[in-house]
């Protein structure tokens, strides 16, 4: 049984000038102890997907099942039980930590909210997690502004892990960090995964990081999954033209090769093209692409793509 199973999930926002279909019929399965990467550019719905899974945003339709239980419509009180097992690490460690709370309070609060342990037990857990994420015990009585970005992200990770969750959704966890700090943070996340048997949903726009850090990848474009494959298979044989364009666009010191960039701007998710959403920018587009939205078809070996020409 999958740890997390999502079927046909949509999240639409109502705006004064029409609906914004941030997420439009996304399905996915996440196995226990698996890391699933979600990649895509602005407006592809990757962050909305993360928030919708945790019910920070209410889905418009579709279902979310966690450990066999439907959590799509559960009442708030039961939601707390689910969130204890599913936590989130945010992109900006400056914006997601309360500047007026000490690190001790930031880490103790989740235990209090979920009624875990008595005072000495909580203190023990807080000291344990701080040490696990590589901060010294002296950090506990300091405030977020006293730390560098990388150390703050360690606090953010400690806060997500203190409840001993099964699933952690990491939304661009290293994007705001300097290169030399990114490696430290990725190594920490991967050590924690092994120590605590975690599953990750790893949302990122950075393909090199996703390639290193994930077992399977979903590529999203304008609210839909366009390709899904085991990480190694995706890189050895990308099938969707958007995936290929994305890979070619990433500058990499290892290759001075220089692909011509794909044309056109990212359309607004409020004004989604007809047929295949990628067709106005696609080098392979034909007449059918302008009319018929392709379905995500299985190509074998866990590889699927939504393209008439894949």
């Amino acid at each position: 049984m999958s740890l997390l199973s999502i079927a046909d999930l949509s999240t639409h926002f109502r705006l004064p000038n029409g609906a914004l279909r941030a997420l439009d019929g996304v399905s996915l399965d996440l196995q226990a102890e698996e890391t699933l990467g979600i990649v895509g550019e602005s407006g592809c719905g990757k962050s909305t997907l993360g928030k919708t899974i945790l019910r920070l945003v209410q889905p418009t339709s579709g279902s979310i099942r966690f450990a066999g239980e439907d959590v799509t419509t559960v009442p708030t009180r039961k939601l707390a039980q689910f969130r204890r097992r599913a936590q989130m690490v945010f992109q900006d460690p400056f914006a997601s930590l309360n500047p007026r709370h000490t690190i001790r309070k930031i880490l103790t609060d989740p235990l209090v909210v979920h009624g875990i342990g008595d005072k000495p037990e909580r203190a023990r857990r807080v000291e344990d997690i701080v040490q696990r994420v590589g901060l010294d015990a002296g950090a506990l009585d300091r405030y977020p502004h006293e730390f560098s970005g990388g150390q703050r992200q360690r606090v953010g990770i400690a806060r997500a892990l203190i409840l001993e969750p099964d699933l952690v959704i990491c939304d661009e966890p290293v994007s705001a960090l300097d290169l030399s700090i990114q490696a430290q943070t990725l190594n920490l996340l991967s050590r924690m995964k092994a120590d605590l048997n975690l599953s990750y949903i790893f949302i990122s726009h950075d393909l090199s990081v996703v390639r290193y850090f994930t077992d399977r990848v979903l590529v999203m474009y304008l609210g839909r999954v366009v390709e899904s494959a085991p990480t190694r298979a995706l890189w050895s044989a990308p099938r969707h033209p958007y995936t290929r364009a994305l890979m070619d666009a990433v500058p990499d010191p290892a290759r001075r090769r220089h692909a011509a960039p794909i044309k056109g701007d990212l359309p607004s998710p409020q004004d989604v093209p007809t047929g295949c959403r990628f067709h106005p920018r696609c080098p392979l587009a034909t007449e059918i692409c302008t009319r018929v939205e392709p379905t995500l078809d299985r190509l074998g070996d866990g590889h699927s793509a939504a393209c008439h020409h894949a």
Partner: protein
């Protein structure tokens, strides 16, 4: 990519020559002794993390440092042989936006939200050239076309909020190149953009460099961008230049432990290395831990550091092919001998 136009002969006077640049805020000196040249028509990249001093270096060339900053005596920034800091306010202003164009990371904060993009391009033109309103407007349409904004006759009347991030950066580029600059300073021009749009914008900047025969000073934190677009690279760390060279040899064989660390710390797109194979190579600590120490700023994070590194600041070694490195430990005999013969 195509090489610079005015190569390989190195002109006697480089377009821009920065020597021993030191910028201080009170007792603090976030840029301490940086020097490099930008040659006509080339792309020179300055790469570094936050706190490296790369943006302050760019701001000082543009004369846009905050008023609390002091450029130390003895520092020199010469553009076409003229000392920039000696210019009058009027001359400095003529230089900025005239012979030196600039673009920044956030196009939205640089554009005026209540003025059409056409008027903003025309304003930049009329600041520097005696043009009528009508002629400036017509030229603005041509410039929007030059930076590949589709349907420029119609878009000229648009306001910045009606454009996407990539289109706004194109407008900024149109303004920057409006007066045919000799040098374009691009400070993290694509950091706020999506990868497919980043590729388009970098491609555009390089095309304009060739068509308008201008040089580009590219400030970035992205090693991949440097490798693909730069003719030469300066690597900065904690306010100093630690390494300089052409991208291919520099990335193939970094000679400073910091450059080496950065390259091995980043996951590579063309590399099959996976978390299940093992951890990434880490550079321990962070750049913030260097404040107030003597010796090499990188020593506390460096695996090769010895006692001498913690006591004296390493000198910049000049090697073959314009390679420079501020660390002796990774220089091989072949580099040294060749340098000596020159």
């Amino acid at each position: 990519m195509n090489g610079p136009i005015v190569q390989p002969r190195v002109p006697a006077v480089p377009l821009l020559a920065v020597e021993d640049l030191r910028i201080g805020f009170g007792a603090h000196q976030p840029v301490s002794g940086v020097g490099f040249d930008v040659r006509e028509g080339e792309t020179l990249a300055i790469v570094g993390e936050s706190g490296s001093g790369k943006s302050l270096t760019a701001l000082s060339i543009m004369g846009l440092l905050p008023s609390s900053a002091r450029i130390a005596p003895g520092s020199s920034i010469r553009f076409e042989g003229r000392e920039i800091s000696a210019l009058s306010v009027k001359d400095a202003r003529a230089l900025r936006g005239g012979s030196i164009g600039m673009i920044f990371q956030e196009p939205m904060t640089c554009l005026n939200p209540v003025m059409t993009i056409g008027d903003q391009v025309a304003e930049a033109l009329r600041q520097h050239q005696p043009l009528t309103r009508k002629a400036a407007k017509a030229r603005a349409v041509e410039l929007l076309d030059l930076v590949r904004i589709p349907d420029p006759h119609r878009r000229v009347a648009d306001y910045p909020h009606q454009l996407s991030g990539g289109m706004r950066q194109r407008v900024m580029i149109a303004i920057a190149v409006a007066c045919g600059p000799r040098l374009l300073i691009a400070d993290e021009p694509t950091t706020a953009l999506d990868v497919t749009i980043q590729a388009q914008v970098l491609d555009l900047i390089d095309r304009l460099r060739r068509e308008l025969s201008m040089a580009v000073l590219l400030i970035t934190h992205d090693l991949g961008v440097v490798a693909q677009w730069a003719d030469r690279v300066v690597v900065m760390y904690a306010g100093r230049k630690v390494e300089q060279g052409e991208p291919d040899p520099l990335f193939a064989r970094p000679l400073h432990p910091y450059t080496q660390g950065l390259l091995t710390a980043s996951p590579r797109l063309d590399d099959n290395f996976h978390y299940s194979d093992g951890p990434l190579n880490e550079i321990p600590g962070s750049i913030s831990s260097v404040a107030g120490q003597v010796g090499c700023a990188f020593a506390p994070r460096c695996a090769h550091a010895c006692t001498a590194c913690r006591e004296t600041i390493p000198v910049l070694h000049h090697l073959t092919d314009g390679r420079q490195v501020a660390c002796p430990v990774l220089i091989t005999e072949e580099h040294r001998v060749a340098a000596f013969h020159r």
